[in-house]
């Protein structure tokens, strides 16, 4: 139809193609130059803030041989990676999940609720399992509900999931300031801490919990599911052309709700793992803008699942690098968002040779 593709480049998941090193090299040039351009603009802005160039360079290089930096990045990457995959999967089914933020919140809230309810009654692993499952269910139900509204009344899920972010945040704040407030927390908005046994153990010798292993396993499973199975094929067909899918006996209701619920479930799991692997206590700020960053990660990766993982990891590194940027270059604490914005803009608007067609 006429209007469909006017302002959007179709980035439907393409079938696998073989990689030719020469063209692949050529393809890589533009993104690299684009990111370089973004860095240059950022440096110019930073210099305008009287940040020393040496400090900026130091901030970027310091992490590379600092094991702490990498540990922090891995820790931060856990929720971002899972949530990014949680955006990429529905995208393959043709659904825009702008609600990872809310689904992460839902997952954290559910995991906290269940975790506190269980207390120390369950042995660790069982408690981990119920928390993770609760988080997954919560995120999945919220997202699945939006997908259901989409297929039943055609309410655009891009908008409903976005709205859900704000609604769920308010729900969490309500819980934290009122019914779930820690009675021993000096009136501060936080739940009681989880039982230590309910927290995931650390990988030996690190401050990284085994959440990262769960995350990698789950993302790997999701990748396999989406790209290697008949379910994944059906999702892709439904995402590419719902009419054609229906006529091929594929139920759009099923694919939409399943893909979205899986995506939301992943994001919810991310929230749960962040809680039981790291935070240990629900607080208003424990997820601030993680979901939006995950959305961007999936987006710059064009909903490619492995790409989303890589992008999410890079963004995690970037967020962690905000510290050296402040401490060594004296930049504002929010400067990292400038860098994130510029990099994403470069990667999406400059890096691709795709343009809209009339």
């Amino acid at each position: 139809m006429t209007a469909a593709a006017s302002t959007q480049t179709a980035s439907a998941p393409r079938p696998r193609f073989s990689i030719n090193p020469v063209t692949a090299g050529k393809r890589a040039i533009r993104p690299i130059l684009s990111v370089a351009a973004a860095l240059a603009v950022f440096a110019a802005l930073a210099l305008a803030q009287n940040a020393p160039l040496s400090g900026i360079i130091e901030a970027f290089t310091i992490g590379l041989n600092n094991p702490n930096f990498w540990q922090q990045t891995v820790v931060r990457a856990v929720p971002l990676m899972i949530a990014a995959v949680g955006v990429a999967i529905p995208a393959r089914a043709g659904l825009v999940n702008v609600g990872a933020e809310g689904q992460l919140i839902a997952g954290s809230v559910a995991a906290a609720g269940v975790g506190l309810l269980v207390g120390s009654a369950f042995p660790g692993p069982l408690s981990w399992l119920v928390c993770a499952v609760a988080g997954m269910l919560a995120g999945g139900v919220v997202a699945g509900f939006c997908a259901y509204l989409r297929v039943r009344v055609n309410a655009p899920e891009a908008v409903t999931t976005l709205l859900m972010n704000f609604i769920l945040l308010d729900v969490m704040l309500f819980l934290l300031y009122q019914p779930w407030k820690d009675p021993n927390g000096s009136g501060q908005p936080q739940t009681r801490p989880l039982d230590p046994a309910a927290m995931l153990p650390m990988l030996p010798g690190t401050r990284i919990s085994i959440a990262i292993l769960v995350a990698l396993a789950v993302c790997g499973f999701a990748w396999w599911l989406a790209t290697r199975t008949d379910w994944g094929f059906r999702i892709t067909v439904a995402g590419g052309n719902p009419e054609a899918a229906v006529r091929s006996g594929i139920s759009i209701t099923k694919t939409s709700v399943q893909a979205m619920a899986l995506g939301g479930g992943l994001a919810g799991l991310g929230g749960a793992l962040n809680l039981i692997g790291l935070e240990g206590q629900l607080r208003p700020d424990i997820l601030t803008s993680f979901g939006f960053i995950a959305f961007l990660a999936a987006f710059v990766a064009r909903s490619n699942i492995l790409g989303s993982l890589v992008a999410a990891f890079c963004f995690a590194a970037l967020m962690v690098a905000s510290n050296p940027l402040q401490l060594r270059a004296g930049l504002d604490g929010s400067a990292v968002y400038v860098l994130l914005g510029l990099a994403c803009l470069a990667l999406t608007a400059l890096a691709s040779t795709l343009r809209t067609t009339r």
Binding site: T2, S11, P156, L162, V171, S334, V336, V338
Partner: protein, 299 residues
């Protein structure tokens, strides 16, 4: 009491109305700009910087409009001419401006300039009831009234508006008719950004008279929400903006009178209402501009 409530709803609602009108134009051209929040922040900060450095709040407002337009132009460039995803680009622009305004607004935190204040319209402000509600307001509130009419006229009565609406439906047809839909989208989005910038500078220069970090606090997202709530109509966008303004004001007014309110429910109200409206209108045949739906459905 009711006059005070309604006057407050209009004063506060104007901070939502201005970006909502901008977003309405933008969406009627087939573009969803989630970067509205960013454009508002830019307008708010630039307004304060300009206002403080020139001593003129009105120059601040002007600069705020330009800053909002510039931000929207950046967004529109990426979306329209580089074909990037609208939702993602909107979020990117929001992040970018959140960071930039924090960086460059740092030294302006806590600096104040006299806000523009209220201007009673002689004659009209003495009218019973409506006088105190409508005509004892900031000049920018009156500008908001004019803009409601202006946007309505532009969209429904002018040739330019016809082009905007047509572009929001089927850009290819507009191109086939020899017009440049992408240019139309770019310019409309930029214009909408100007209104968001106006909204931001209304907050900083018009109402409170200072800059503080992230001071728009999600009003840009509420503005986007209002447009959907309004089913893309100017009149309902007006109602929605003032209604959501009322939700904010009433929270204060009711508390000031000793009534207990559930702050979190009130905060969530705009979003909940919009969700309900969306569910109701989406099942109807023609809810959103066609190109907008296509864009939202695309990955």
């Amino acid at each position: 009491m009711i006059e005070i409530l309604l006057a407050g709803a209009i004063a506060t609602g104007t901070a939502i109305l201005l970006p909502a009108l901008g977003e309405l134009l933008t969406q009627r051209a087939g573009i969803t700009n989630l970067g509205t929040e960013g454009a508002m922040l830019a307008g708010a900060l630039t307004g304060v910087i300009m206002g403080i450095s020139t001593g003129s709040p009105w120059l601040g407002i002007g600069a705020g409009i330009l800053a909002g337009a510039a931000v929207a132009a950046l967004f529109a460039w990426a979306v329209v001419f580089r074909g990037t995803n609208q939702l993602a680009t909107g979020l990117i622009v929001w992040f970018l401006l959140f960071g930039l305004t924090s960086m460059f607004g740092r030294e302006y935190n806590g600096q104040v300039l006299p806000p523009i204040g209220k201007l009673a319209i002689p004659g009209l402000s003495d009218l019973p009831f409506v006088g105190s509600i409508l005509f004892h307001q900031s000049p920018i509130v009156y500008l908001g009234f004019a803009l409601i009419a202006g946007v309505w006229w532009l969209l429904t009565r002018s040739r330019v508006g016809l082009l905007i609406r047509a572009t929001g439906e089927r850009p290819l047809v507009v191109a086939a008719a020899g017009n440049r839909p992408r240019l139309i989208q770019f310019l409309t989005t930029t214009l909408g950004g100007g209104l968001s910038g106006l909204g931001g500078s209304y907050l900083s220069v018009g109402v409170v008279g200072n800059w503080s970090n992230n001071m728009t606090n999600g009003y840009g997202f509420i503005a986007v929400t209002v447009v959907i709530f309004a089913a893309w109509r100017t009149n309902w966008a007006t109602v929605g903006s003032y209604l959501f303004g009322a939700a904010i004001t009433f929270a204060s007014q009711l508390q000031a009178r000793g009534f207990a309110v559930n702050q979190y429910l009130l905060d969530a109200l705009p979003y909940l209402l919009t969700l309900v409206v969306l569910v109701v209108i989406s099942s109807q045949r023609k809810a959103a501009p066609e190109a907008l739906n296509a864009a939202l459905a695309a990955r």
